[in-house]
Symmetry: C3
Subunit: 383 residues, 3 copies
């Protein structure tokens, strides 16, 4: 059972620019979310996964991924406590033999009572799935799903690229993931990263805005909705870090300019390009597990012309980028998010934080997300 409590109205009133974002502890409903990596679910296997406070059961049957809530209607037990599958594409509850179709959740048989009137009349919640770029996406919601392309950053689904991915659990609310990733000046925490030195990156310590128009909101009726951070183009980069008028730190004046195009997309996807080096794009997703944790999906995409190039990039990803970028560099992001959690676990934090000039893109993201999400995940959805 989640501890999800309603937000104090006084807090929402103070956050009048983005009230739904403040309420979205458990994430936004009626969106597509990455869950498992495709390679984590082989034919005939079952896997559980937590998403927006709910508990899911996934299986792969005839190549297709099915997803239902991991809870029998009868007495509420999780199927996953002891998976029983007597026919591909079904799951049988270990307790009384209630058997469900994995594709639509229908109660198709009850082994202990094959003549029960309940057969064919009840369903467990089932969720649409879609695989793309090596990820299994689940549509957590009740409405007719829009195309997946509306819920991922532009370019993520491009066919002429290889996308390599990993995922890791992070002990912070998902919104702290989004904001850490999209935050321009958090580069300060990366000042000593081996990635910066080793790859001769140009990485300032900070960015002084030279305009208030340092962002661009993409908010069309169809297609993905997001915010571009243009601070990099409208700033004086800070290469000399000063305290009390004295220079105490230096940014890294490398030859390789990276990450000058950063954007954040509903429901929880970030695009950083180029990154972690020229010719590559890092797409990230901060997927709510519950109010205290998120799955951090890290993917790197590279344009490829043929299978040999695909294979070569997969090798490079495995041998170089996982350690240097996704672990060494991004681990600093992970502990930074976790260090924020104790403060933001208290809803009043959203009224007590002090955003500064370089955070205008964060505020725009909150407003867009509050305005354009397709619904709030509420405690009631989990009953």
């Amino acid at each position: 059972m989640t501890n999800y409590l309603p937000i104090d109205p006084a807090v929402l009133a103070k956050c009048a620019l983005y009230p739904q974002y403040i309420e979205a502890k458990l994430g936004f409903r009626n969106h597509w979310y990455p869950t498992l990596l495709s390679e984590e679910l082989k034919e005939g296997e079952f896997r559980t996964h937590a998403l927006l406070g709910d508990k899911l059961l996934l299986t792969r049957n005839g190549g297709k991924v099915h997803c239902v809530r991991d809870r029998c209607l009868h007495r509420g037990v999780p199927f996953s406590r002891k998976i029983e599958c007597y026919k591909p594409g079904t799951v049988t509850c270990w307790y009384h033999g209630f058997t469900y179709n994995m594709d639509n959740g229908e109660l198709s048989d009850i082994i202990t009572h094959p003549k029960s009137n309940m057969i064919g009349k009840l369903r467990i919640p089932s969720f649409r799935t879609q695989e793309a770029q090596g990820l299994i996406f689940v549509f957590m919601g009740d409405i007719e799903p829009p195309p997946l392309s509306d819920d991922v950053p532009p370019g993520f689904l491009d066919a002429d690229q290889e996308v390599c991915a990993r995922r890791v659990e992070v002990s912070s609310n998902w919104r702290l993931g989004c904001e850490n990733g999209f935050d321009s000046t958090h580069i300060f925490i990366h000042k000593d990263s081996p990635l910066v030195e080793g790859n001769d990156l140009l990485l300032p310590l900070g960015l002084v805005p030279t305009s208030r128009d340092t962002f661009e909101v993409v908010d069309n009726e169809t297609g993905p909705k997001g915010v571009f951070d243009h601070l990099f183009e409208h700033c004086e980069p800070v290469f000399e870090g000063k305290v009390g008028g004295k220079t105490v730190l230096h940014g890294h004046m490398g030859a390789t300019q990276v990450a000058y195009n950063i954007s954040m997309w509903l429901p929880c996807g970030l695009r950083v390009m180029p990154w972690p080096g020229a010719g590559m794009i890092q797409f990230e997703f901060y997927v709510p597990i519950d109010e205290h944790r998120h799955f951090y999906f890290q993917t790197i995409a590279k344009k490829v012309g043929n299978d040999a190039e695909r294979g070569a990039f997969r090798d490079e990803f495995r041998d170089k980028w996982v350690d240097l970028a996704l672990k060494s560099f991004n681990n600093d992001d992970i502990w930074a998010r976790e260090a924020q959690q104790e403060f933001y676990i208290n809803d009043e934090a959203w009224t007590r934080e002090h955003l500064f000039e370089a955070d205008r893109n964060i505020s725009q993201w909150r407003q867009l997300a509050s305005r354009r999400n397709r619904g709030l995940q509420r405690k009631e959805h989990l009953l």
Copy 2:
């Protein structure tokens, strides 16, 4: 401190057939409950025990068991932190020497202030005890206790039998213990048990009711109150388990018919006969510890004619039945109850479960328990 919270009235309204049962998270007050095994409390020893959210201190003095609340009146500390007993049948608090009679809870002496006006004027709660069939029963309540025979399944107190027992802590509410034990079609979880195969038991996979009158309620003014499950006599047993019209499983067509007489009794006792084999009866008790845990008392009774037969059955119990029945077989029941706890920890679960045709005895049990219990254990009783 327990987290016991009041039930939402909307939930009680939806459970109008058995509202008190839904409220009885901590169990029913003013009933007899088994606590320790007699052999666990030797002359002069002290033992603590948790019952219905309360903390008890038991001792044996001159053969008789005494039971008081394990908490000094003065500053609320548990005596059991450091037992001091300077006279049999008393306990002295280690903190300030407050000394109580264990039989009635009276404050009889204060060692640090032998002239205090409080001496003889205050009492800690004390509880009636009774030993039977190797178990120490405690009456958790305030009224004059009815006979123990009203609070155990019929036959449990019969003199011409040997009753062997063990107890184990289970991490689920006590009601899930009762319902798992009394549930006819939960036999599905036992389909692969070594007990079934090794003892050539007749054990179907399920039971299709052929009548709606598959139970009998015993609800007389005096004597035990309970529900008999007669489904076994009014059913088509299921020996072929089917999914999608195809047989996928088989029940066990053994020669030994067992467990055709099952009944559930207030406050928390089950009787299964014959079980685990011919000539034996299994009596079980699901005794509330707090809202999240219960003690599972497992006893097997067998008629005996003399001491040699008593001793022989004790040996058989220890050498055979503990491992084969109480551990191997019933361990499946234990994890089944624990697997339900996450769902039922939320009070709304009682309105969201989907009982099916074979659960009519469960519903009758809930109604009887709601109607005929002698009171609810409430948070206020624990202050």
Copy 3:
């Protein structure tokens, strides 16, 4: 985040003699409290400390101790997650380079945005500090601090003595620390202590008051406010412990009379003299960490005439008194407080305890503390 909840008004009404004391779960605000030992914070070091539910960051710069709240204004992260100090007397947040003066909390620089309008306009809470007798005191509050001498027991600051100290975390509310220490008849728990036997102390089992005027309240406009316990001078000491009229225990009739002068002082200081032997005084402080824990400061003071005597007492403290008095003897006090915590975690405990005749000094202490504290530490102070 602390779980500090408001007190039920019905409880406060029943505790009408000392309502603020009952509310003071987190301690009293606007008082001086010992935090670290001076030796625990060396020049240039940073240390965190928890006090009255708040999280503090302390450093020493040019010998002087500075103390601020350990939380950046921007996104609420603790500086202590990764201390960055680029100029003595400042701390720089690892996340975005927000830099604060440690002496007054002023935001003096933002490394990532040196031109931000926020610079010089915001402050984190900073707290006055003072060192005395080897302890670092922090003034937890908002008002102009009174002199430290108002918040420690009389004599603690005397210059002609050596004060040796240690501190240990105890898992009970701070008030249970105060009351355990000031409680006359808790000597009962020390009846078997090696300190008593080994140093030939006179230690009765209890004390029967021979007057109701066994205390003296010191409640002047200026100076420390406290309560003297005079029970020892107005009592019949109990050397024969009796149960049911029969002597079952004996107090220790040693030659050395100790601890005949005991007093308790706002906000949380105890003075016991002489103790643990002739010519010494034990000063103790029970400093709130949060509502469930306190730091127990144990100090022993001895008059000294020169540096040689200072050194000799430091050696004696380290080699003898730490083990014999502060550990062996006082460990019984520590577990006694912890054994009370489960009862007093429930606010209603204050209405359900049963104080007896020897507890009059406790009641006076509660009344004085309720009447003369300088404010309550509330959840709102921690936001």
